[in-house]
Amino acid sequence: MDLLVNLCGVKLKNPVIAASGTFGFGAEYDEYYDISLLGGISVKGLTLLPRQGNPPPRIAETAAGMLNSVGLQNPGLSAFLSDELPKLRQKNTAVIANVAGATLEDYENMAKGLQGADVDLVELNISCPNVKEGGVAFGIRPAMVEEVTKRFKKHCEQPLMVKLSPNVADITDNARAAEDGGADAVSLINTLTGMAIDIETRKPVLANVTGGLSGPAVKPVALRMVYQVAKSVKIPVVGMGGIETGEDAVEFLLAGATAVMVGTANLSDPMACPKVIQGIKAYLERHHLSGVQEIIGKLEA
């Protein structure tokens, strides 16, 4: 069974990557299983300087989904490079640095700060809905997507993947903008902006009022966008949004994703990623297919 995929030059032992923000820097999950069996890990979103993030409550449960407003709490790029990356590199899995900034200069400095860093891929988060400064603004207008991609790419030594926001009218415009800006891949979707209200207190559940919706609830929207984007760009697409099982992952692969990310499902079940890998394998076996390549983009529509 050949699960190997090639993501813009990066070889992943299987197409399952832990999604940014749901998996810390991997250590906590390594207590449950050897995280070397993952295709890759996209680490918690990094910024140049450390960030405390938003006040709690930062999470609200919704029907088959959840809202979060963590707001990029992270130790900052240099602490990541010195403290976390070396530990992560002991594991045999691709490491993806997920990075965000508030200004174009921030992004440029992030790219420079990552020069020489032993990460396999950089994932440019221009779509985080939970930070006030910048963040999501870069991810909405195609011209901005192209600009920030171009600026980052100029200083970026690693293959670059741009993570797209679903809070747009036509996500293919932004995917093409990222491609035009020099992205080597795109990943989607980040969270849909949502809200929950506590009717007893008459207040929003999240201290931040709104948050990012993720989990099974968003899967139909994510799958539609991955399908549309895969048809619109030539660079590879990494699909995510609500994947809980191998069957879910197969839907995204059929829709044209080269690899998938598993986010919220890690919160429901720390064993989610290995279960997704197992599920893909089982599907391929049941259909007598020799490898995952035989299903990528093979939707008959």
């Binding site: 749901t22 918690k44 993030g53 709690p56 029907a63």
Partner: protein, 256 residues
């Protein structure tokens, strides 16, 4: 810690909207006082687990008792589960209560459903636990008051329907004027913990540990949603209730 499909041995109403659930799994790892279990709600709509403190843990029998109150949909669904069914359980999670060397006397102070986790501390360090203070809203929602047979036991209800009338923190305060332990373990609603903190400012040599609650995602330290404000040095930082806690040094906790 690990993921288990634990069997329900008992799931019984013990007070108004309060249930005791006893779970067993041959593979259970030993749970320590103040740690918690993270239970999956067995319907498909609720994707987040629910954190519930260990009330009592028996490693010989590999059984864990939990006491929980029906608050919303998740706990309501849990309360409808039957013996023989199984619950997807992560345990034991978090950092529980700890006993510094040289500790001779421990008191326990809890309110409402926060009384539940104190019992395992009593079971574990019973020889040191000399006094237990429990506060409840009223008799209807009081539970577990007959468990502390070897310690001085104080109980208060807000409406006076059981034990003394008033707040248990006032009762504690009056006793502290006469007598001090080395350490107090506490757990309860935030308003109670706030006044507990105020009371304890008068007795700075008594070490206090408090078990906190915050809405959780993963429960294992990976998602950073369960943050609480903890003082460190001059400033503060957000710590994870699930991994850095749920038990913290009372002095460091900022209840805002």
């Amino acid at each position: 810690m690990k993921e288990y499909r634990a069997e329900i041995l008992e799931n019984k109403r013990i007070a108004q909207d309060i249930y005791r659930m006893v779970l067993r799994d041959e593979g259970f790892e030993r749970a320590l006082p103040g740690q918690f279990a993270h239970l999956r709600i067995p319907d498909g709509r609720h994707i987040l687990r629910r954190p519930i403190s260990v009330h009592a843990y028996d490693h010989d029998q590999r059984t864990m008792s939990l006491i929980y109150q029906i608050k919303g949909e998740g706990t309501r669904i849990l309360s409808g589960m039957k013996s023989g069914e199984s619950v997807d359980t992560l345990m034991p999670l978090g950092r529980g209560f700890w006993v510094p060397e040289g500790t001779k006397e421990i008191w326990l102070m809890g309110g409402g459903i926060g009384a539940a986790p104190l019992f395992e501390a009593y079971r574990t360090w019973g020889d040191k636990v000399k006094a237990v203070f429990l506060g409840f809203r009223s008799l209807d929602v009081a539970y577990g008051v007959d468990l502390y047979d070897k310690a001085a036991f104080y109980v208060a209800t807000e409406d006076g329907s059981f034990g003394a009338q008033g707040y248990i923190t006032d009762m504690l305060d009056r006793l502290l004027e006469k007598k001090r332990p080395d350490l107090i373990f506490s757990c309860g609603p935030v308003p109670m913990l706030r006044s507990f903190k105020r009371v304890m400012e008068k007795y700075p040599d008594v070490a206090c540990q408090v078990s906190l609650e915050e809405r959780m995602g993963c429960g294992i330290g990976g998602c950073l949603v369960c943050s609480c404000k903890i003082q460190s040095g001059d400033g503060w930082s957000y710590k994870r209730v699930c991994k850095d806690g749920p038990v913290f040094d009372l002095k460091e906790v900022d209840f805002e």
